[in-house]
Structures are given as C-alpha cells and as structure tokens.
C-alpha cells in the first residue's frame, strides 16, 4: 500500500517536472487531442463529409470540411481545395447581379480567413499555402466577374502581392511569384478529385495568365501551351494530348485526361 502511494507520488512528480520543462501551449494540447481522436473519428468524418456533398449545401460541406481538417491541420492541399470549392461555389440561383457578387465576395473572404488561420499549423508547407492563397482571388474573379468591383484597391493583383510578399519574407525568395503557375496542376487535381470541373477550369485559366510571370520565355510558352491543351480537353473539345502526356509535371492530371 505504502509502495503504491510512493509510486503515484513519484509519477505525479515526474509529470509535473515534464510539464514545467516542456511548457506546453494550448495548441500542443489541441494537437495531442486531435492525434488521439484521429483514428477513431477520421473515417466517420470522411463519410460525413461525403454525405454532406451529396445532401447538404455549400455551407454545410465547408463546415464538415473544417471539422475534418481540424484533425489534419498540416494537410495544406486539403485546406486549399476545400477553401477553393467554397469560394468558387456557384451560389444561389435566386440571387442575381450585385447580390450574387456580394455573396461571392463574402465566400472569398471567409475562405481566405480560414486559410490564414490554417497557416499557423502548416509548418514547412506554409509557403505553398500562401501561394495557393495568392491564386484564389484570381480564380474567384474569373468565376464571378462582378466580384472584381468589391475587392480592395489594386484588385486581385494587390491581394496576391500581399500573400506572395509574406511568402518571400518567409524565405521563399522571388521565385515564389513564378512558382504560382506551376502549383496549378496539383490544385487542379484536387478540385477534379472533388468533382469540381468548373473550379479546375478556373484554376487552369488563371494559371495560363500567370505563366506570363515566368522569366524563362521558352519554358513559359511550353507550359502555357500544355495548360491550354488540358483546358481544351476539360472543356470537351477534341485535343491531341500527346505533348501533355510526355510532360511528367502533368502526371497528377493523367487520370482525368485519359
């Protein structure tokens, strides 16, 4: 009995010592809780996410995605795809004109705010997340042209600059601006996986425009031509994709091009 009490006291002392040495933060506790809950909850969270996509509205799908990604905070591709889907949602048929643009603006703001929040836990993938955030306003405006008038001074370019400047400060260097167009393939794959062909087309359109940022003109021309071929294929136009299949940078999209 006495030995048992001593053991408990010793264990409590060790625990207190460990806590004082490590000085855990609230985020650590959250990460530990999410780590413990993940195996039991994740399969059902995915099932609920799929069910919401089949029977819920865009708000519910995004809310479910947030629950899912709370368990996977470092999965930046997932964050970018779900935020993109929400921001690019077609909206309500009953809404027209300014009301529709305002709704699209609100969705874009929410998606960017959520991604901003996800940056804290993105770790070494923070720069990639920032590049995807820089992409989002361009795509949203391509999808909902009325949105351009509601953006702050400088429009999508200023918003993209803001995120890219942060990425540069984080050590990505000036190359981060050129990289944006090359991220489109992975982003596009994520949207196609989620069944969002329209979103994928918007990403490709924006990436073709952004290929102008690439300083190596030959590379930019080739990249832009391949992106255009993929875009034409997704639009249902008869296209010869042999050049795209020869370019391994497009490998993530191959299942959707065959």
């Amino acid at each position: 009995m006495i030995a048992g009490s001593w053991s408990v006291m010793l264990a409590a002392g060790c625990l207190a010592g460990a806590i004082s040495l490590v000085q855990p933060r609230l985020d650590d506790a959250r990460e530990l809780a999410s780590w413990a809950a993940r195996p039991a909850v994740l399969p059902f969270a995915w099932a609920a996410q799929r069910a919401a996509m089949h029977s819920g509205n865009s708000d519910e799908v995004f809310a479910r995605a947030q629950q899912l990604l709370d368990l996977l905070p470092t999965w930046t591709d997932g964050h970018a795809v779900f935020a993109g889907q929400f921001a690019l949602d077609g909206g309500d048929l009953a809404q027209t004109g300014p009301e529709r643009s305002a709704a699209a603006h609100r969705r874009l703001q929410i998606a960017l705010a959520w991604l901003e929040n996800a940056r804290r836990q993105a770790g070494r993938r923070e720069i990639e997340l920032l590049e995807q955030m820089a992409f989002l306003p361009d795509i949203a405006v391509a999808r909902e042209p009325g949105l351009a008038a509601l953006l702050p001074a400088g429009g999508t370019a200023a918003m993209a600059d803001h995120y890219l400047a942060i990425a540069e400060q984080l050590g990505a260097g000036p190359v981060v601006r050129e990289n944006r167009t090359f991220l489109a393939v992975q982003y596009c794959r994520g949207l196609l996986d989620a069944g969002d062909r329209r979103g994928a087309l918007a990403v490709l359109g924006a990436a073709i425009v952004r290929s102008a940022d690439v300083r190596d003109r030959d590379l930019a021309t080739e990249w832009s031509a391949h992106l255009t071929l993929v875009q034409q294929h997704l639009l249902g136009e008869p296209t010869d994709l042999s050049a795209v299949f020869a370019d391994l940078r497009f490998e993530p999209l191959f299942p959707y091009l065959r």
Partner: protein
C-alpha cells in the same frame, strides 16, 4: 403503482439505467455544446450549416446509450452466461427470454427519458429550427437521363403535394461536345415553376427553386440548352412541403428513433448472452452500438442531420430506413429465444 409492478425487472432496470445514464449524458451534452461553440465553423450562414453539428448531438446520445447498455448487461444476470445468481433467476423468470426482454424494455424507456430533452431542448440550443418541413424525394422515372437526345423528363408524384420549394441536385456526365452548362426549365403540372432556368455543368451543384405555395402532382424537366447530360436518380429531386410541423414533436420522434441502436445492441447482447460470458457480451453490445451511432449505420445519423436541418422525420422514407435495423434486432431476439429454449432442454 402496485408493489408487484415496482418489483418488475423492467422497473428495476429503468431505475438503474436512469441513475447511471442521466448524469454522464448531461455531462457529455455540456462538453459537446462547449466544443461545438469552440469549434464554430467559418461559413457564410451558420443557420445553413446546422446539419454539420450532428456529431455534437450524437455524442450525448451515444453516451446515454452506452451507459444504458453497460448498466443493463451488468445488472441483469441472465444477459450473460454463467453469472452469479443466474440459476435462481432462471427459475423465477419463466418467460422465453427469462426477463431479458423486460430488462431491455426498462433500458429503452430510461434512454428515451434521457434522450427526449437532448433531442428537443439541447438540439434547439445547437441551432435546430423550431419548425420542421416535409422533404419528399420525388421518385425517378425509369430512364432518368436528361440529354440533347432526350430533352424531357417526367416525374409523377405518388400523391399531390402542397409545396413551396424544389431542390435539384443531378449527377453530371461528360459533355457531349464543347462544354456548355445545361439549362433546365422546371414545369409543374404543365406550367413553368419559375421564371429562371437552373444551370448545371458538374455533379454536386444544388439549385433551390422557391415558389408560391401550390399543390403539385407531376413535374417535368426540360433541357433548353447545353451539352452536359444530367442524371436525375431518386433523391436528386426534392420537394419541400409548405406546411409547418412542430419542432418539438420532431425532437420527440428523434428521441424515439435514437432508441433503435440501443434496441439492436441489447438484442445482440441477449443473443450472445445465451452462450457467451460477460466480457464477450459487453464487447458485442458496445461494438454494435458504436457501429450504429458513431459508425453511421442505421437510421440515426440521417435522422440527427434531418432534425438539425429542419426535416420532418415522421415520414415513410424515414420509417423505411428504420425497417432493416428493426428487423435485425427482432431477428436477434428471436434467435435468443430459440437458443435459450435449447439450452433449457
């Protein structure tokens, strides 16, 4: 109540389950509500996303059912083989289930009493609407494909329905030419339902068409333009009823539906208990309960979501979802009776 009635196994189990399940369920509700508020999602309209709060409603219901299952299996000796006191009880309880059925009823009643406030008051606190509307899934025609070759689709309703909103969510196929979103006009009983057309170019898009309340007996979808073929299987066309039903009654019906996982879990405990010892019976019952609540099998998950989204649950489609679980539980009970009769010989 007579002294004989108060000494019935159902009453004993009811009291025991109420004592053990009420506080943990209340605690789980407090924790779940706190977590729901703490992890409030960032969305455009919180009211539109109440369905996503279903996990926070299912948590206390699961805790309540878990407590009732464990309490009942531990309390009634004949729910597991070779328990102390089981021989005495077997002589006293002469029925085909030796009182297991009564214990099961007591547990279900206790769980219903705990779940009723959870499904009404607590669900409202989570954002469940105070009124509910009937959501009728319009049955699909034999060939539910809308394309340039077949630009008309007719949907006949089983009975005329008074509605004020239609929701369309088709599955989109690959375009039959350069991509052009398909524009669909909706006609109800021969007249256009809305001035605007619905546009679809990919799967997952939902279009809501609100209209002034009217009775509808047939719907027709007409493809006006576009190259994307659209499939409209059952479930892709939903008519929302104009009548308002009580949210409280909806909550009480949900409480009733929440007993189905507990019933199936205890029925399986009853079956396993005819031959297996306590640890096995507990594992079987808790496993079944987990699959039917957290795992999302059975009608409860859809019902929880429906309650939070304001869908009226007292409909034939919800009842149809319950039938397999009820049949499974009843079969397990019949199997338990037969096994026990054989072991008595």
């Amino acid at each position: 109540m007579s002294r004989r009635a108060t000494r019935h196994p159902a009453i004993f189990t009811l009291q025991r389950c109420l004592r053990t399940a009420a506080l943990p369920a209340l605690g789980a509700a407090v924790v779940a509500f706190t977590l729901a508020m703490w992890t409030e999602p960032m969305v455009a309209s919180a009211a539109a996303a109440t369905g996503a709060r279903a996990p926070w409603l299912s948590l206390p219901i699961f805790v309540c059912a878990f407590s009732c299952v464990v309490t009942t299996v531990l309390f009634w000796p004949l729910l597991a083989a070779r328990r102390p006191g089981s021989d005495w009880l077997r002589r006293l309880q002469r029925g085909p289930l030796h009182g297991c059925g009564a214990a099961l009823s007591g547990a279900l009643l206790a769980s219903l009493l705990v779940c009723a406030p959870l499904c009404t008051v607590y669900a409202s606190a989570l954002g469940a609407p105070s009124i509910a509307r009937t959501h009728t899934l319009v049955p699909a025609p034999a060939e539910p494909l809308l394309s340039a070759k077949r630009p008309h689709l007719h949907f006949a309703l089983a009975a005329p329905l008074l509605g004020n909103e239609l929701r369309l969510r088709p599955l989109a196929s690959l375009p039959e030419g350069p991509l052009r979103a398909s524009r669909v006009r909706v006609m109800a009983d021969g007249a256009p339902l809305a001035a605007a057309t619905a546009e679809f170019d990919q799967t997952g898009q939902i279009v809501r068409i609100p209209f002034a309340s009217r009775t509808i007996s047939a719907l027709e979808l007409v493809l006006e333009d576009g190259t994307v073929p659209l499939f409209f299987p059952t479930g892709s066309v939903e008519l929302i009823g104009a009548g308002e039903q009580s949210g409280l009654a909806n909550g009480l019906f949900l409480a009733l539906l929440a007993q189905i996982p507990l019933f199936v879990a205890l029925a399986f405990a009853c079956l396993a208990g005819a031959v297996a010892a306590l640890p096995t019976v507990l594992a079987v019952a808790v496993g079944v309960l987990f699959v039917m609540t957290v795992g999302g099998e059975g009608p409860l998950t859809a019902a929880l979501q429906g309650r939070l989204q304001g869908h009226w649950l007292l409909t034939t489609s919800v009842f149809r979802q319950c039938v397999p679980s009820l049949l499974l539980g009843s079969t397990a009970m019949i199997g338990a009776m037969m096994l026990r009769r054989r072991s008595r010989r």
